[in-house]
């Protein structure tokens, strides 16, 4: 894309750190869901979405994790990851109760926000969310 400002080294380290941790957690959670992990089956039964919901969410988590590991698509992975995590947070607050999984969801959501903020120039509709150009006087 044209006119994408260079990310500073600290920003690059931060986003990649966030991407790796988030992708790790999302990937593992997605894998457990698709592998018919007992706790997940119970959880989705509680939500009334067993088994289709579990497969869909698991699939989305894996997809988000994959996208987040590729530089060009990391920002889209983060948006998807944030969406799934928001769903998880809603689930815990309204149906499942507060436990350690909620903490993980909050953590991953926060990491996704970090990635989105640092990588906001990677997608046109995102960069317009903030003031983004400087007025260069030549």
């Amino acid at each position: 894309m044209k006119n994408v400002p260079k990310k500073s080294t600290p920003a690059l380290i931060a986003t990649w750190g966030a991407q790796l941790v988030a992708a790790g957690i999302l990937g593992y959670a997605g894998y457990l869901k698709l592998a018919d992990h007992q706790a997940d089956i119970e959880l989705f039964t509680q939500l009334g979405m067993e088994p289709a919901g579990r497969y869909i969410i698991g699939g989305l988590e894996l997809l988000a994790a994959t996208l987040m590991l590729i530089p060009q698509s990391a920002v889209y992975g983060a948006i998807l990851g944030l969406g799934v995590m928001l769903g998880a947070i809603i689930g815990h607050l309204t149906a499942l109760g507060i436990d350690v999984k909620l903490l993980f969801a909050l953590l991953v959501a926060a990491l996704c926000v970090v990635v989105i903020v640092i990588r906001r120039f990677d997608a046109e509709f995102l960069r317009n969310l903030w003031d983004h150009y400087r007025y260069d006087v030549e």
Partner: protein
């Protein structure tokens, strides 16, 4: 007439309200009915947040501030607009600077396809366009005099240079063009048997490579032949002009795309190669002044022309875009006084092209070619200097109609730059300044240059020249003349309100 008009602002308000309230609605549905609804909750929640940012956080986009996410549609449409218009919506005569009819004509010639078209002209024929007048009794093709134009004959120059086709490749520097394009053009020029102007890019390494006859251009920074202060280094010019392929030297005073404007070569762009070819040091910006340091008034300007003629030995021309015809008249006056005339003068129209120029200059500065050329051509005759130098012209002279039109105004031959770019595959993507030229012409990126195959495209130049010359010859016959120089202003049909009927310059 009253029609139901979409009130965008109202629509946006409704949309924004709907987005926010949908979040709530889906949340309740998710809570009371089925968790599935929370897919909607999340979607609309994120949209609501984005909308909030568009409307209240960012301050740079009025439309997004006023309309929110549906305003974003505008930016999507705007970003694909040029492509959509070019491929879907533009009519054949609408695009600028060259419309599809003009481009298609060049492409056809370049590919060697005959240019017959059926049923009628694509142009709005009754508009105030200038047309050529044919004669009741056309000339036999066999009676046409072969075209010959000898530069330097007025001075009896030993190294006079003769061209036998009325079309020349206009200045395009290595730098604005990539090396691949320069080599393609120069090989094409050799195949076509026409000379090529090197542009002001310094030592013409790639131009020389393919064996074409060259006109070495000396810009105001005198790249390739300069002293460190930007003045002319006689020895370097002598050495360069002694090169067998360099047939003429051109002093550029101004060009139509940015007349009266200098330039700056930023140090980041000065690679080892550029530094070598242009004769400038690395690591610092180089300024192209808007004028030659040697030329600050009429007397010094004409003296400088004389000096270049003496140093170079080959014919020497000048190139300028006309601002005020009276200034050119004064220049002629001074030439007469000093008995010094350049071997040709080339008039660049304000509509000229370039790799990169400030938009204000592209659009707004400099006289358009046709009136400028007419003023200069008429003045040359009136002042009795018409037979002291040749007259060339440039400015969208890419199709035979306009080329012959320029000849009626006095041009002995035509220059074109963009015509030849089109011939080697330019699609008018308008990215010459970005190093992202999709057809590999104005880019230095090897992965884009690979698409430009010299072997193939060089022949397009030869074809384009051949086709154009053929059309010009046919038109000359139809107009009942036997050579270019017989053409006069009376051979033009000039409608009442055309650019030529009112002499734009009320000085």
């Amino acid at each position: 007439m009253s029609t139901a008009k979409v009130d965008l602002h109202k629509l946006a308000r409704i949309t924004n309200f709907m987005i926010a309230s949908s979040t709530g609605a889906f949340f309740f549905a998710g809570y009371f009915l089925s968790f599935w609804f929370h897919f909607g909750t999340v979607f609309f929640l994120m949209l609501t947040v984005a909308n909030f940012f568009y409307r209240h956080v960012q301050t740079q986009h009025t439309i997004l501030r006023n309309f929110g996410v549906i305003g974003q549609m505008r930016y999507v449409l705007e970003s694909v607009g040029p492509e959509l218009r070019q491929y879907l919506f533009s009519t054949d005569t609408e695009e600028r600077p060259f419309n599809r009819v003009e481009r298609a004509e060049v492409y056809r010639k370049a590919k060697g396809i005959e240019g017959a078209q059926s049923f009628g002209s694509q142009y709005n024929y009754d508009e105030n366009e200038i047309k050529l007048r044919h004669a009741m009794f056309p000339t036999d093709h066999a009676d046409l005099e072969p075209y010959r134009l000898t530069f330097g004959e007025e001075r009896g120059l030993a190294q006079a240079y003769t061209i036998d086709k009325p079309i020349v490749i206009s200045a395009m520097s290595f730098g604005s063009l990539g090396s691949q394009a320069v080599r393609t053009l120069s090989r094409g020029a050799r195949l076509a048997g026409i000379p090529m102007n090197t542009g002001e890019g310094g030592y013409p390494k790639y131009h020389l490579q393919e064996g074409a006859d060259l006109i070495f251009q000396m810009g105001t920074a005198k790249f390739g032949v300069r002293n460190d202060d930007g003045s002319l280094n006689d020895d370097k010019l002598t050495a360069l002009a002694a090169h067998e392929q360099i047939k003429m030297v051109e002093i550029k005073f101004s060009q139509g795309a940015k007349p009266g404007k200098g330039g700056l070569l930023p140090k980041e762009k000065i690679t080892t190669e550029i530094s070598e070819l242009r004769g400038v040091p690395m690591g610092q910006d180089v300024v192209s002044p808007p004028y030659h340091v040697e030329c600050r008034n009429l007397v010094s300007t004409v003296k400088f022309i004389r000096r270049v003629q003496e140093v170079a030995g080959v014919p020497v021309g000048i190139k300028l875009c006309v601002g005020r015809p009276s200034e050119v008249g004064e220049l002629f006056e001074e030439m007469k006084r000093q008995e010094v005339f350049p071997d040709y003068i080339s008039i660049d129209g304000g509509e000229g092209g370039t790799g990169a120029a400030p938009k204000a200059y592209l659009d707004g500065v400099g006289m358009p070619l046709l009136p400028a050329l007419k003023s200069v051509g008429d003045m040359m005759v009136e002042m009795g200097v018409r037979d002291r130098m040749k007259l060339l012209a440039a400015g969208k002279l890419v199709t035979p109609g306009r080329q012959v039109g320029a000849m009626c105004l006095g041009a002995d031959a035509v220059y074109t730059a963009r015509g030849f770019m089109l011939a080697i595959g330019c699609i008018q993507a308008l990215q010459c300044g970005n190093n992202t030229c999709p057809v590999g012409i104005t880019t230095h990126d090897p992965s884009l240059q690979r698409g430009l195959v010299i072997e193939d495209k060089a022949y397009r130049i030869a074809n384009y020249v051949k086709g154009s010359v053929k059309d010009i010859e046919h038109i000359l016959c139809s107009m009942g003349v036997r050579r270019v120089r017989e053409l006069t202003f009376d051979h033009l049909y000039v409608p009442h309100d055309s650019i030529l009927s009112v002499q734009g310059d009320a000085e």
